[in-house]
């Protein structure tokens, strides 16, 4: 919705400046998205005349125009390349020292040796059109010499682009906006109603003898009015109508169409004009379409209708889709002489459904959907007749047809003033509330403690007390209401799970991982690129029915693609290292029309780690594993280990594992498969993990802190280096040592892995540091030695381990 300041002033003589009005509209709830001054930058442009043209002596494509800005005035030379200059033309002109709308200042210049002291402007240079004009703008020959261009063009106007919410249907017309301004800001001003008087041509038979209206579906069309105007001359509308329509963003077409649009903009009442002579038998039937019925609409598209849609038909066929768009056959053309003007009320839901189904959103359907003022149908029709008589030379046939099978019944709302005050937190007198409602044209009666408020017909948005409360607040002023805060009776807090997630994030941060947030809508192609489409779970895609693009076509089933994309894009930007994690929802399809499963996942990955731990040439893997070990230790989940993974084709076949916590598989960790890394621009060896956050929470839930006495007895250290077959997992040995050592062993740490010259081939050496300690006494060397030997015996029995350096 777009309105002009000058046009609005025709309906209410406001004193506010254009800027002030903009603020007032916004604060009234009619949000001004943009305010545009039509004559922006045109102050310096005046009307000049080309009095003489000379060839440019040094350039074929240039000419020298001599222009004057007053009769008998000085002739100013202007060098121009415009092809359409001619002697005698009136043109917009900017002299030396003047400024163009773009901010360019005109200076005296020499163009190929010839003096130029100004500029004859084209439309685009004046900001009147976007695209480059072919030549200068030519004005009418009667344009007054030396006169202000913007005033001559009537450009001294402001345009407000309003973003109207659905409850402001009444403001989709100029009169409605004027009424709103009056109610809120200028109750003393009078609304200036448009003239609606015209002469009915008594030589014509009454309209009821020429036109018959039959409403077959009153539930969809409670009111239908028609007037007939004969002998109209189809031509361009007068300049003022065209100017108003352009200001409203409507393209002028011809006088009849323009007049219907003009009245639509005035009254917020969509009208339709039919070529009367193309209506068979002069009979209009308002009925539901038949299933499969077809109509060609104004835009020359053939539309397939169904029985939920309302059409305007003659006895032969449908001639318009009611409230949405007229039919091509009955359209007003340059041959039209007699027009039938329709002004009706159509059911909002029906119009909306129809417009949606046919994908035809029109100015008319937009208004009918939101509800027009059913009581103003005849007045709007009369206004159209007045204009047709005045601007199209039409003869108005006597009488109006007004079929009104479902009479409007005003809603009456009971309003409790005490409740109003309670809801708003104010203390308004009943009389004040009544005054406010009356200003808004509600009628109010008192009934015991309550008010009976009758809703005017243009307030299609008001149906219950809350709506009135808003109106009262709006007029009283939202910003006049004092601020307070409700007293809290309960304690604010996060749930245990929310606290857990917060802690996990903090721990991962402290482990050096940056938190990332990636899109949960993704391209299926990313899953193909990462070999994930065959993976159980990961392939349970939830597809979007109406995606924006393939890039946002599915919901993520795992955090992997997002994480890998983050790692890859940072690597591409020459990041040498990156370590990230994300928590978020993934979605799994469990069958059509079933609610997809939502899982809360934690994932992460890194590349660029440098510590070649254990000489495994897998620094990223062990770095990431280390971060997770730290996380689990802090979460008191000590029973954690990795188990080599058999499946998971997206990971390096030799470097992938299942994450096992307290016997449960919670996720995986591994290096991205080298070929996938290559294909996805990821550094080789990048490591990644994902696990179920809710399951992790469930496992950690029972854990709580409990202090344990700190032992005061000394620690006895022993180092143990064993040589084992290289295929034996060190973790297994570590576990075996723990088992054999019993409680006395307080701590065990691997400190070296060795393979090489000093060890026979096919074997490796693993060196551990063991710390022995008792809770209740100082351990004796012999005790520890005895236990140490037991460990050694156990290892040699179970793993044929040899003790190195013993």
């Amino acid at each position: 919705m777009q309105i002009s300041y000058n046009w609005l002033k025709r309906y209410i003589d406001i004193d506010f400046s254009p800027e002030d009005l903009s603020e007032k509209l916004t604060m009234a709830g009619l949000e001004v998205e943009a305010l545009e001054y039509l004559a922006q930058g045109l102050d310096d442009i005046i009307i000049a005349q080309i009095s003489e043209i000379k060839e440019h002596p040094n350039a074929d494509k240039l000419q020298i125009c001599y222009v004057k800005t007053e009769a008998g005035g000085e002739e100013i030379p202007v060098v121009t390349g415009a092809p359409n200059v001619a002697k005698g033309l009136k043109v917009p002109f900017a002299g030396v020292g003047r400024t163009l709308p773009g901010g360019m200042k005109i200076e005296e210049v020499e163009l190929r040796g010839e003096l130029s002291q100004g500029m004859i402007c084209s439309k685009d240079e004046l900001g009147l059109q976007e695209e480059r004009a072919a030549g200068i703008m030519v004005l009418d020959s009667d344009a007054p010499l030396g006169f202000s261009f913007k005033k001559y063009m009537k450009l001294d106007d402001y345009i407000y682009k309003l973003d109207l919410t659905p409850n402001y249907a009444r403001c989709l017309g100029m009169l409605g906006v004027a009424r709103e301004i009056k109610s809120l800001y200028a109750p003393e001003k009078k609304l200036i109603k448009p003239p609606i008087s015209f002469t009915e041509d008594q030589s014509e038979a009454h309209i009821s003898e020429q036109v018959e209206i039959d409403i077959e579906a009153p539930e969809l069309c409670p009111r239908y009015t028609a007037r007939l105007v004969k002998d109209v001359e189809i031509k361009e509308s007068p300049e003022w109508i065209q100017r108003r329509l352009k200001a409203a963003g409507i393209r002028p077409i011809n006088n009849v169409v323009d007049i219907t649009n003009f009245v639509l903009m005035e009254y917020n009442q969509p009208l339709h004009s039919f070529d009367y002579n193309k209506i068979n038998d002069g009979k209009i039937i308002v009925r539901r379409a038949e299933k499969g019925e077809k109509i060609t609409t104004l835009d020359e598209e053939q539309r397939l209708l169904d029985d939920e849609m309302l059409v305007i038909a003659d006895p032969k066929e449908a001639i318009a889709v009611a409230g949405v768009m007229g039919g091509f056959e009955s359209e007003v053309t340059s041959q039209t002489t007699d027009v039938l003007i329709e002004s009706a009320y159509f059911n909002p839901v029906s119009v909306r459904k129809t417009a949606k189904k046919l994908a035809m959103h029109s100015d008319a359907s937009h208004r009918f959907e939101r509800g027009v003022d059913i009581e103003k149908a005849v007045e709007a029709n009369n206004r159209a007749c007045q204009l047709l008589e005045k601007c199209a030379g039409g003869r108005v046939v006597p009488g109006v047809i007004d079929e009104y099978p479902r009479q409007y019944e005003a809603a009456v709302i009971e309003l409790d003033c005490e409740r109003v005050n309670e809801l708003l937190g104010v203390d308004l007198q009943e009389s004040k509330i009544i005054e406010i409602l009356k200003r808004l044209q509600f009628s109010v009666e008192k009934k015991e403690a309550e008010l009976l408020v009758t809703v005017p017909s243009f307030r299609t948005d008001v149906s219950r007390g809350a709506d009135l409360v808003e109106e009262i607040a709006r007029v009283y002023g939202y910003n006049e209401i004092e601020s307070s805060r409700p007293v809290s009776k309960q304690r604010g807090q996060r749930t245990a799970k929310q606290n857990f997630e917060k802690r996990v994030k903090e721990l991962l941060n402290s482990g050096g991982l940056d938190e990332v947030i990636t899109y949960s809508l993704q391209a299926k192609k990313s899953y193909q690129d990462l070999n994930l489409t065959e993976v159980e779970g990961f392939n349970q895609f939830v597809e979007i029915k109406n995606p924006l693009s393939a890039a946002f076509g599915i919901l993520r089933t795992t955090l992997l693609p997002g994480l890998i994309d983050v790692l890859a894009s940072n690597a591409r930007r020459q990041g040498a290292e990156m370590a990230v994690f994300e928590t978020g929802t993934v979605f799994r399809n469990v069958g059509a029309n079933k609610r997809p499963i939502e899982l809360n996942k934690l994932g992460g990955g890194l590349f660029g780690a440098e510590n070649n731990l254990w000489q495994q040439d897998a620094p990223n893997f062990y770095q990431l594993k280390g971060v997770l070990e730290m996380l689990f230790e802090h979460l008191q989940l000590s029973d954690f280990h990795l188990e080599f993974a058999e499946a998971r084709p997206y990971l390096h076949p030799g470097r992938k594992a299942e994450l096992i916590i307290e016997g449960q598989k919670l996720g995986f960790i591994g290096e991205i498969h080298p070929q996938l890394a290559e294909k996805n621009d990821l550094p080789q060896g990048a490591a990644i993990f994902e696990m179920d956050l809710d399951k992790l929470f469930a496992l950690s839930k029972a854990k709580s802190y409990h202090y344990q006495q700190i032992t005061k007895y000394p620690v006895l250290d022993r180092d143990l280096a064993v040589v084992i077959k290289e295929e034996i997992a060190v973790g297994e040995i570590l576990q075996a040592i723990k088992n054999a050592a019993g409680e006395m062993l307080k701590e065990i740490k691997l400190f070296d892995i060795y393979q090489g010259d000093q060890i026979k081939s096919g074997y490796k050496s693993a060196a551990f540091e063991l710390k022995f300690q008792a809770e209740d006494r100082t351990l004796r060397d012999e005790e520890v030695n005895e236990r140490f030997n037991k460990i050694v015996d156990h290892l040699s029995e179970q793993y044929s381990a040899e003790i190195r350096g013993n």
Binding site: M27, N509, G512, K545, L548, S569, N593, R595
Partner: protein
């Protein structure tokens, strides 16, 4: 032989030599020379037999006194020399404090998390609990229960991404209002941050995926003025005390009265600049009194209870608060961006 003279001589010599001392090694040599088993004092004692018996006590006493004296001198001198040596050693251990410290890598919080947590903490302080809901929603929770019937123009306010005939991606966090009301009786006091989806093309200010936080308070006697006070407090917490706040009428199907909340521009302070489109104001959130239809649909008595609700775009909040000019930056996760927070 005059041992007493001898002692005097020793004393003089020792005093002289001690004065010339410059190292701990020399000090040790002197100690041996005078106090050692074959030292000067000892030699006096060993000559005692050669003198008259009656003189022995006198000489003995003098010799012991001198021994103690020298010992004292040596100790004093030792302390000084040790202090000097330590001083010298510390000087030699001087380091270049300008060399960089060890690299300790701590990860960063994503700015969206940062702002969400900040907001949550303010609300927790006000007695709110944090509520959550699914991202895939039914028509009922996303629209109908929020007073947005199927064929109402209000449906156009949000372009929806659908999964099938029953389910869609929630277009706002407001369904959590309904889920909360279904699950509990008043009083209700929640804040529900979460991810939401719209069919909006990705550009500098729009993203099909973004984040909102929904607030809902329902109790007996909750008023529009309570809503105003709460929102003003939040804006003060997030943007400081110097911001002006204004409420203007707006429309949300699930609130009535409804308001749009503007805050005076954080860049120009109200003068008008590019960020605020020269209006001096920034639209920051939507709010209103819970529509009685919404209360009733969820089984609350709208004549007894009342409530307010508000919804704020977290991405927009982060953009404004941290001066980010493109929403896409939030989801690109460039390390150089993440490491600014």
């Amino acid at each position: 032989m005059d041992l007493l003279k001898e002692l005097k001589k020793i004393e003089k010599e020792a005093e002289k030599e001690l004065k010339e001392l410059s190292s701990l090694d020399q000090l040790e040599e002197l100690r041996i020379k005078y106090l050692g088993k074959k030292g000067a004092i000892q030699s006096i004692f060993s000559q005692m037999g050669k003198i008259a018996a009656d003189k022995r006590p006198v000489v003995g006493k003098e010799a012991n006194q001198l021994k103690a004296k020298i010992e004292n001198w040596l100790n004093e001198e030792k302390e000084i020399l040790e202090a000097e040596a330590a001083e010298a050693r510390f000087k030699a251990e001087k380091i270049d404090v300008s060399l960089p410290g060890a690299e300790v890598k701590a990860g960063r919080q994503h700015p969206l998390s940062l702002i969400t947590k900040e907001l949550e903490d303010v609300f927790i302080g006000l007695g709110y609990t944090i509520a959550e809901g699914p991202e895939v929603e039914s028509e009922y929770y996303n629209f109908e229960a929020l007073n947005i019937p199927e064929h109402h123009p209000a449906r156009d306010l949000q372009d929806t991404l659908y999964i099938d005939d029953h389910y869609l991606l929630r277009t706002h966090t407001s369904p959590v209002q309904i889920r909360t009301m279904e699950a509990q009786e008043p009083p209700v006091r929640i804040i529900a941050p979460g991810r939401v989806y719209r069919s909006d093309e990705l550009d500098a200010s729009h993203s099909p995926i973004f984040h909102q936080a929904e607030g809902l308070v329902i109790d007996k006697g909750i008023s529009f003025s309570d809503l105003k006070g709460t929102i003003e407090l939040i804006i003060e917490a997030l943007f400081g005390e110097d911001r002006d706040v204004r409420f203007r009428p707006s429309y949300f199907p699930f609130t009535e009265p409804s308001a749009e909340v503007d805050v005076s521009c954080i860049v120009c302070g109200g003068e008008g600049c590019q960020l605020c489109s020269r209006t001096g104001w920034l639209e920051i959130m939507g709010a209103g009194m819970v529509h009685p239809n919404v209360l009733e649909i969820s089984g609350y008595d709208s004549n007894y209870y009342s409530g307010y609700a508000f919804g704020v775009g977290l991405d927009r909040l982060a953009l404004l608060k941290y001066g980010i000019d493109d929403i896409r930056v939030l989801y690109e996760n460039d390390k150089r961006f993440l490491h600014q927070f």
